[in-house]
Structure formats: C-alpha cells, structure tokens
Amino acid sequence: AKSRRALTAEIGAGTFSVGDEEAWERLEEALIHGDVGVRATAELVRRLEARGEIGDLGEALAEEIEALFGPAVTLDLSASPTVILVVGVNGTGKTTTVGKLAQKLREHGRTVLVGAGDTFRAAAEEQLEIWAERAGADFVGAPAGGDPAAVAFDAVEAGRARGRDVVIVDTAGRLHTQSNLMEELAKVRRVIEGRIAGAPHETLLVVDATTGQNGLQQARLFGESAGVTGVALTKLDGSAKGGVAVAIAYELGLPVKLVGVGEGIDDLRPFDPREFARALVSG
C-alpha cells in the first residue's frame, strides 16, 4: 500500500532538486507521515535548506535527524544502588521494559531488585513477578490497592539492605491529564528522593512507537511531574518507526535511551541515533 512506503520512496529521494517546491512538499508530507510532527518537520526542512547542497536526500535527512538527537546517551548506573523509576501512559510497555532491563543488567553482572509499584491494574503485580523470576531479579510486591509510594519505599530499602546494584520501580499506567494520578507519581518520586540523595537516578518515560503527536504532551507533562531523564521507545518491531521521538527530542531535549523490539526478554537495545534515523528514513 502507498502508506507503507519508505520516506525516501515517498519523496523520490534520487530525483530531489533543491529548487523543486513540490519535492520539498513531498518531503514534509513524508516526515509528517512518519509521526515527526509539524514543528520538528519544519525544523528539519529548515536545516536541510540551510545546507544548500544536499546530494543524496535520504542520507542528508538521516544525518539531520541524527544530529537532532545528539550523541547516544546511556543509562547512568554509577550510584549504588542506582534507582530507576519507570513511568508512562497505559499499555505502552512499562512492566515488560522493567523485566527486559533487569535481564540486561543481570547479563552485565549487576544484581537487580524490582518493585511492583503498580498496585492498581488487575494482575500487574503477578505480571512483574513473572518477569522478575525470568530475569533472576529480586522482587518486592504489594497488596492490590496499596500505596505505590510505600512500595517504592520498601523496594529502595530492600535494595539497599541487600546490597543490590540496581533497584527498578514499576508504576501504574496513567494518562498525563489525570492530575491526581500525576500527583501520586510525584509522591512516589519524593519518597525515593527522601531515601537516597540523588535518587531516582533515572526516570524513564516509556513511549509506544505507534503513538502520534500525543507523545509530545506525554513527555511534557510526565517531565513536569516525575522529572523524566530519558525515553524508552517500545514496539519498534512493528512497522511504526517512532517518529514522535524526534519531536520529543527537538522540542523537549529529552533523549531516547532504550528501544524495545519485541515481547521477549532479550528484546531491549540501547538507542542508536544513527540506526534510528536511517530506519525512519528508509523504512
């Protein structure tokens, strides 16, 4: 189908001429079609125009997207224990990402404890416990309907007492427009801050790659309430290329740190701006 073609196919990359108005229009459309959004698209077009000589358009566009992200940023794991808080709207892949991340860290020789800070959704605790088992991580649970801040407290305390390297706290999905739930999240954060100075060391916002422009608002408001330090972009194994991450990086300066590429325990990768940019452009 037409809608499935790569950006470069849509814009006819080979035949691109700087003076060709229509070609620029097609380029804009292609970026919009990739969920990059109106403003970040305008910026990319501006940067391309500023180049004068473009050469291979696909290549040039990928370079500009990559430059917009800046160099790859990895998780900061220097503190001991390092506390990682995982947040986001409903169903994006938070709990799965906690499981996969625990596995990755275990592979790198770190001891990990995960805390089930989602006390709301049915069977959220059971789901995380299965992941903890798979990854060989300690698990701290909570009664359904319990206080998520109390779970975060218990998890951080247990992680410290047992000398674990990393504590990862899962949270319930919530829409960024729900102010009471965002306040709850801020409280979880404050409790963690109160236990260990400088914690949480990372707060990851999990964004589904199929998300459209709403992703920007998610990043903005979760940033305000929870102090997000990076994005984990999930479900990149589908045909969506996660273009909203470009908008998030451009408008909020928030880096992507991890990408999810499947439902299996090994399907988590560090974010590679070059690879991401090329995939976005060439499909």
């Binding site: 189908a1 709207v89 409903n90 169903g91 960024h176 459209g212 422009q213």
Partner: protein, 304 residues
C-alpha cells in the same frame, strides 16, 4: 494549541471573513488551516488529502449562513462532513442464535482485556448473560488479569490449560455454551499487524469460534500508523467494528477518522477510563469536534 481553529481561520481569512459566499480564495486559505488541524490530530496524511479535497469541492460557492462568518461556515462544513463520515455504518453489535461470539483483537496494550470486561458488564446491564474466554496465553499473567476483572463484576471467565490459543478459545466457548450463556467474549493476545505468524494464529482462532462480531481495539493515541494497522487487520481478520480506547486523555484521536476512512468499518464504542463502567457508545459529532479541536465554535454553529 488548537481550541482556536476558528480564531486561526478568522486570522487567515481576514477580510474574506465578511464575504457572503465562500469563494475560491477563501476556501483555499481555509483548507490549508483545516489540513494542518487534521495533521496535528494525527489523521493519516493521505486521508487528510482526500478529505480536504472533498470538503473543498463542497464548500466552493456555498452561501454563508446568517450569523456566521466565512471561517465559522467552513468549520461547520468540515465538522458536519467529519461527523457524517464517522457516523456512517451500524454502531450496534450483532446478535444471532446464542451464544453470540465477540472476538477482541488489536495491537499490544491497546486495551483488549479491559474492554472485554467492560463489554461484558455493558451487555449484562442490557439483560444478557455474558461470559469471558481467556485466549491470551502469551502475555505474563494475562489470564490472571482477565480472571480478576471477571471477579470484580461477577462474570464467569473460562480458562483452559493449554498453550494453544485456538484450543483455549474453542473449549472456552463450548463450556460457556454448556453453561447456557448467550454472549461469549473472547480476549486474545496483542499482536503486531506485521507479525505474519500471529496474524495467522488469530485467523485460526476466528475460524474456530465463528464470531458474529470481530472488534478491533484501537488506542486513541495512535499516530499515522493507524492506517497500516487497520488495513492489515481488515485484510487478515475482517473486523466488523472498532472500539476506540483511552479517550479520557487529551489525544485528538485522528486515528479514528483514518481507520473509518480506510476500512469503512464503524466505530462502535468509546472507552473513557480504566474503570469497568467507563465504556460509552460512540458519538460521531463529539469525535468530530475533538479531532478539529474546537470548543467554543460549536455552540456558535449550533445556534446558526
């Protein structure tokens, strides 16, 4: 950002705003704004193109209603077309010789399991005797989740000890039938539309339970990808209607228009929260206003 579509139109149209008829210049200027509004709402860009072309043709030469200016007239036109497009098709579920089977499908995390339970509650309130069948054997604790939801609303949940979702669905259905239930809702695992093996598995589940209603559960926050998703599910599974979820947020929900325009399949329900009574029948006119991001202008238009 965009509760000001009418303001922006007024700004763009300038003096044309006081004209008595929508001439070509006014229409072209207005369409540029409409196009931007739809793109910002995540409507697929191809769908936007076709839609805008259609509205443009209809708008040309149109008399401006008393009490409206050119901008408002355009918004009214676009709004009405949008509502009409999204409202076409039967939004009711089909019922046949009991038990009526409803198959829930969609991408990972779209809201299938939650919506399954909500639908069961909704149908019981209409006097039906619904049951839930757990056919997601993939996601950790998916069956637990459905069972806990079923317990909350006292609806029976059927699980089968197997790793084969086709068998789980078929056996669950048989047992529900044996218990005299008249509606059976089958929850399936989330899957990507590009995952051939899992799409094939879903087709086999469908063949095994012969649903009268196949529903595609779609997250309202979905971007341009909605078209690919809808096309693929349509081709492989042939769904009958859409449930749009997470509409309690601030997503403009342009995906709804994309899917409707591409497949012609009606949107049947709107899901507006995590609680099990937060399921509503779909209102096309509200959705049209939402996609256009307009509040104030609606009341104006309604008065005209």
């Amino acid at each position: 950002m965009f509760d000001t579509l009418s303001d922006r139109l007024q700004l763009t149209l300038g003096d044309l705003g006081r004209a008595k008829r929508l001439d070509e210049d006014a229409v072209n200027k207005a369409m540029r704004e409409i196009r931007l509004a739809l793109l910002e709402a995540d409507v697929n860009f191809q769908v936007v193109k076709d839609f805008v072309a259609g509205v443009k043709a209809a708008a040309l030469g149109e008399d401006i209603l008393k009490g409206l200016d050119a901008g408002q007239q355009v918004v009214k036109l676009v709004h009405d077309r949008l509502a009409e497009l999204m409202g076409s098709g039967d939004s009711k579920l089909a019922f046949g010789r009991p038990p009526t089977v409803i198959l829930m499908t969609g991408l990972q995390g779209s809201g299938k399991t939650t919506t399954s339970a909500k639908l069961a509650l909704h149908l019981r309130r209409q006097g039906k005797r619904p049951g839930l069948v757990a056919a997601d054997l993939q996601r950790p604790a998916a069956i637990d989740q459905l069972e806990q939801l079923g317990r909350q609303i006292a609806i029976p949940v059927y699980r089968t000890d197997t790793s084969d979702p086709v068998r789980a669905a078929a056996e669950g259905l048989e047992r529900a039938k044996g218990d005299g239930l008249d509606v059976v809702i089958v929850d399936t695992a989330g899957r990507l539309h590009v995952d051939e093996a899992l799409m094939d598995e879903l087709a086999r589940v469908r063949d095994a339970v012969k649903p009268l209603n196949v529903l595609l559960v779609l997250d309202a926050m979905t971007g341009q990808e909605a078209v690919n998703v809808a096309e693929a599910f349509q081709r492989r599974i042939a769904f009958d209607g859409v449930v749009l979820t997470k509409l309690d947020g601030d997503a403009r929900g342009g995906a709804a228009l994309s899917v409707k325009a591409i497949t012609g399949k009606p949107i049947k329900f709107a899901s507006v929260g995590e609680k099990l009574d937060q399921l509503e029948v779909f209102h096309p006119d509200r959705m049209a206003s939402r996609i256009l991001g307009m509040g104030d202008v609606l009341t104006l238009i309604e008065k005209a």
